[in-house]
Amino acid sequence: MRYVLARTGQAAVVLLAAFTASFVLLQALPGDAILIKFDNPELGLSAEQLAAVRTAYGADASPLTQYLHTLTGFLGGDLGYSVQYGTPVGQLLGEALPATATLAVAGFVTAVLLALGIAAAATLAPLRWLRTAAASLPSLLAAVPVFWLGIVLVQVLSFRLGLVRTIGAGPVESLVLPVLTLAVPIAAPLAQVLLRSIDTVSAQPFVAVTTAKGASRRWLLTRTVARNALPPTVAIAGVLLGELIGGAVVTETVFGRAGIGRVAEQAVANQDVPVLQAVVVLAAAVFTLVNLAVDLLYPVLDPRAKVRLTA
């Protein structure tokens, strides 16, 4: 129980640190969103008009005032307004979040299936060269740039073969290509860790004993090896989340999907600080939560960890 509390407290500190660090960094950037939006020559505003706009937006307040204002706003659930679009940040993220969550979950599940498939093929395939090919697949997939993969998939599957529509597709159809695109780079490290674990575990004496007792490779894999190889794989799930977020930015942009990645990409382009701040905190929150979950789950999956913790 103390372990759980300590971990949760750590998570809260990490969140505050992420908020503060992102606030400071965003303040340190040259220029600001109001300058970018309103001091745009296109609007032809005079210096006085611009000053009035800045005052109206509170952009002339001191950094500390702005920090406290933003922080209390965040704590109270008010994320402010996007300077570029004028839309409340909460609304912007609220509408984008389900799309990204769907994409991320579907992408992750697909990646896990893909990784398991590769691991199974590399271990169980009937021919040696097939096993070798499957085993080298993760390195190959890890080297594929998400952006390039997305473009290739859409060009071939949608524009050439017409299998799925990119424009005017239904909710499921519109997920196919983005999910594939996202799953590949995540499946690669997953499969790699899984294969490495299988190798390590297979070299253990108990495996030899089980084999001597007449267990088949398949039985071994599913009953003993897999269970032992799982914990390290789960442990890197937290790290993969970063990959997932990065992949979502690219995937959503390539496929023109609504989502947090798109919102973030646009916010970076326009230095839309309120949006960026919210995205950073959101990403930090998700990251922290996933890692917290992994930390809390680990002792359950791996009894040895439990022993260490309680000792």
Partner: protein, 571 residues
């Protein structure tokens, strides 16, 4: 990230039409001149435009439409999401495409002839010094929420556009200057008064930055006119925004009872199309692939290298010109390295804009022969002063005391002739363009560092002549005032100038009431800019669209924003 010139402008110009013009004043303080072409100095512009206007057709770019009800649906792919539907801030193309189709304007400017014609206003009178305009309005026009578009509504619109509201973030329109106030004379008559002559106002009433919104919409703060609020924006145009997926998709639906197209339009009544689905598709290859594979009907922003793919597939390519100050490089002479006229002349002669166009662009991007586009009113050929002549450029630099250093880059008093320029997200293929220019300049011993900044650095650094000695930009707008807009110290001031002579010449363009004399004033400015080597014009910039072979009636307002009213797809 955007490549589109997002200018706000009011619009329009006409190709090669040198003698006409609806002018508008943009400078505060500078009185402006008057537009209409025939009737000279006396400012009876309204009448002239009215008479002249009745002949013009409406389609700018494509063939006529189809009978109502056969229009079908159009899928239009946009490069970026819109940011606001407040008309004075709608110059950014994604905003403009929406405002152009969901609002009507007081007057209509023929995109080809540039004449100002009646639209919501049936006729108008202007006093002798252009400080008072009275418009008579058409009866029976309503906003899509049913409220009447009457004199009070029109007054409310221009009070907002002319005076702004800082508290609500509603900025003053660049097109409406010297605005003093409105008076509702009766239900269908409204008078506007100006604190100084505003001969450009009539043309300003025709541009998308003066799109008419319902009074209730104008009560909103800027935040409520942005993304996420599109379906609540009420105009009187042929289309109504009926659905918005924030940042990704907008649906326009034809208004069944629409019956007030400009009188000069052959097509009256409702739009042919039933719906227009605007899908934001940021990735160029996906936009193009969607068009060519039949998943989309029209796409905006076809990259120059992709044009051939569109035409070869038998698809339509449209490249309406943006008609104004050409895409080019402003030489900021307040930077000490560029203070010497000979150095600036050397840069001008060192750049081969034909090679730029041939290498990076296509025939739709004609090489510039002046600061102004050849399609812009007031164009005056200064190609001689701009000629590519590397030998002369090298000689000029030597004469100015810059001698080649060990690495070929010229040096003077221990300083390298090295200049920074920022790739501009708003200009098409800015980076490759600047890199090619850099290679050309390297041949005469000048180093050009092409930088790709983030938006914040760009916004701050480009205001500093020391950090940004060369500035890449353009302005699309066909009015003679466009040149003042780009170069005057009170306007965009791309040169970050301190040259009072230039300001004086620019003000003369804006203040000259006689149309012929005004053309001469414009030529004076172009000659002066060329003599002083203040600007390296590169090319005349179009907006490039691709459309499926069976899309008919696609038209563009004067600076290239799409008009869907006449479009039909049959799907």
């Amino acid at each position: 990230m955007t490549r589109t010139p997002g200018h706000p402008l009011p619009a329009d110009g006409s190709p090669a039409a040198t003698d006409r013009q609806g002018g508008r004043t943009r400078a505060a303080r500078t009185p402006a001149r008057t537009p209409a072409r025939t009737t000279a100095a006396v400012a009876v512009l309204g009448a002239t435009a009215l008479l002249a206007g009745c002949a013009g057709g409406r389609d700018a770019a494509a063939s006529g439409g189809q009978p109502d009800g056969q229009g079908g649906n159009l899928t239009y792919l946009e490069y970026q999401p819109h940011t606001t539907l407040y008309p004075p801030q709608s110059g950014f193309y994604p905003n403009g495409a929406l405002v152009n189709n969901v609002t009507d304007r007081l007057t209509y400017q023929d995109p080809e002839t540039l004449e100002i014609e009646p639209w919501i206003a049936t006729d108008w009178q202007v006093n002798a010094d252009a400080t008072e305009y009275t418009f008579n309005l058409r009866d029976g026009v309503t906003f899509s929420d049913g409220t009447p578009l009457d004199a009070a509504a029109v007054a409310r619109n221009f009070d907002t556009f002319g005076l702004g509201d800082d508290e609500r973030g509603l900025t003053v329109s660049e097109a409406v200057n010297n605005y003093a106030g409105s008076e509702v004379v009766d239900e269908d008559t409204v008078t506007f008064r100006f604190s100084a002559p505003a001969p450009g106002f009539l043309q300003a009433t025709s541009t998308i930055t003066s799109g008419l919104l319902s009074p209730e919409t104008l009560d909103r703060p800027l935040e409520d006119l942005g993304a996420g609020s599109a379906t609540e924006i009420v105009g009187s145009g042929p289309f109504v925004i009926t659905d918005e997926q924030v940042g990704t998709e907008i649906t326009l639906t034809a208004r069944e009872d629409y019956d007030w197209a400009p009188p000069s339009s052959e097509h009256q009544g409702r739009a042919h199309l039933d719906t227009v689905t605007i899908v934001v598709t940021p990735e160029d290859s996906v936009r193009l692939g969607s068009l060519l594979s039949g998943q989309a009907d029209v796409v905006r922003y076809v990259q120059a290298p992709d044009e051939e793919q569109v035409t070869q597939a038998g698809f339509q390519l449209f490249a309406p010109q943006t008609r104004g100050v050409n895409n080019g490089l402003a030489l900021r002479f307040t930077n000490p390295l560029l203070a010497d006229l000979r150095v600036r002349q050397a840069l001008v002669h060192g750049v081969d804009n034909r090679q730029v166009v041939e290498t990076v662009f296509t025939d739709n991007y004609p090489a510039a022969t002046s600061v102004l586009s050849a399609a812009a009113p007031g164009y005056h050929d200064t190609s001689e002063a701009l000629a590519h002549d590397p030998d002369r450029a090298a000689a000029l630099l030597t004469e100015a005391g810059w001698t080649p250093g060990p690495d070929g880059i010229r040096v003077k008093d221990g300083q390298r002739l090295s200049l920074d320029v920022y790739a501009s997200a708003a200009q098409p293929l800015s980076k490759p363009t600047l890199e090619l220019v850099g290679q050309q300049l390297a041949e005469i011993g000048v180093e050009l560092n092409v930088k790709s900044p983030d938006a914040g650095s760009y916004a701050t650094d480009t205001l500093d002549p020391l950090k940004t000695p060369l500035y890449h930009s353009m302005v699309g707008r066909a009015d003679l005032d466009v040149i003042k807009s780009q170069f005057h110290t009170d306007n965009r001031d791309v040169l970050l100038s301190d040259d009072a002579t230039l300001d004086g010449l620019l003000e003369a363009v804006a203040a000259e009431p006689d149309p012929q004399a005004r053309l001469q004033r414009s030529a004076d400015v172009q000659d002066y800019l060329a003599e002083q080597a203040y600007y390296i014009p590169l090319f005349e910039e179009p907006q490039v669209y691709g459309a499926a072979p069976d899309v008919t009636g696609l038209a563009f307002e004067a600076v290239g924003r799409p008009t869907f009213y006449d479009v039909a797809t049959g799907r």
